[in-house]
Subunit: 126 residues, 2 copies
């Protein structure tokens, strides 16, 4: 997987805004960028980590609170977090002993947008 972090998806859409997977063919560059993010989401542990980070009151989670939720080693959890970060889904900040993670909602917003059918009603968030 590329080390490059993803900031904006689909910036090269014909009209400069809001491409969607469902309304027009996808150019190779946008497809490669989007695939990187979807691939990061294509693992149950990473999805659970992302949900824990995104749903946390206060908006950030200490890695020390993430690791105990899984029957996995700290290096394995760190590797999954690194892939989420490389995909532009989360960011991290070290403070003292621990690293704290938070969601980058622009990326999930963009994925939700590209998966929304043109003219479809708003996705029903719980």
């Amino acid at each position: 997987m590329s080390k490059q972090e993803l900031v904006v998806l689909g910036q090269d859409a014909a009209d400069g805004c809001c491409p969607t997977l469902l309304s027009a063919p996808l150019d190779e560059g946008t497809a490669a960028e989007l695939a990187l993010v979807f691939k990061a989401l294509g693992d149950p542990v990473r999805l659970r980590l992302l949900a824990m980070i995104a749903s946390r009151e206060g908006g950030e989670v200490c890695v020390c609170d993430l690791t105990p939720a899984f029957d996995l080693s700290q290096p394995t959890i760190s590797h999954h977090l690194k892939l989420l970060k490389q995909a532009g889904l989360i960011d991290s900040e070290r403070r003292g002993t621990w690293v704290y993670y938070r969601l980058l909602p622009d990326t999930t917003d963009r994925l939700a947008a590209v998966l929304t059918r043109p003219g479809a009603p708003a996705a029903p968030a719980a």
Copy 2:
């Protein structure tokens, strides 16, 4: 990848409806189901195939119209289409010589929903 086809995602959410990745921790079963679909989207060729199928006027595409758009063999394209179908993203029907593919919008709708922030405005489809 599991051969199981995915019909409904996140059916086991606490309230029976509309779980989102971003509003609550994710149980292992839902994470596994969602990961299967995101993994299917984690490839540029599959994303481009899905976009071609989803955006086609009339709602379906002959495999004979998909293959020429890629510098890949027919068996490779068929393999990618099979993974999209196993993930519940597309369906297919054989008529005569050719197989025709169409989007299963319930699955993309569900993905858009789980990626939508609670309280966020509707995803801006192009």
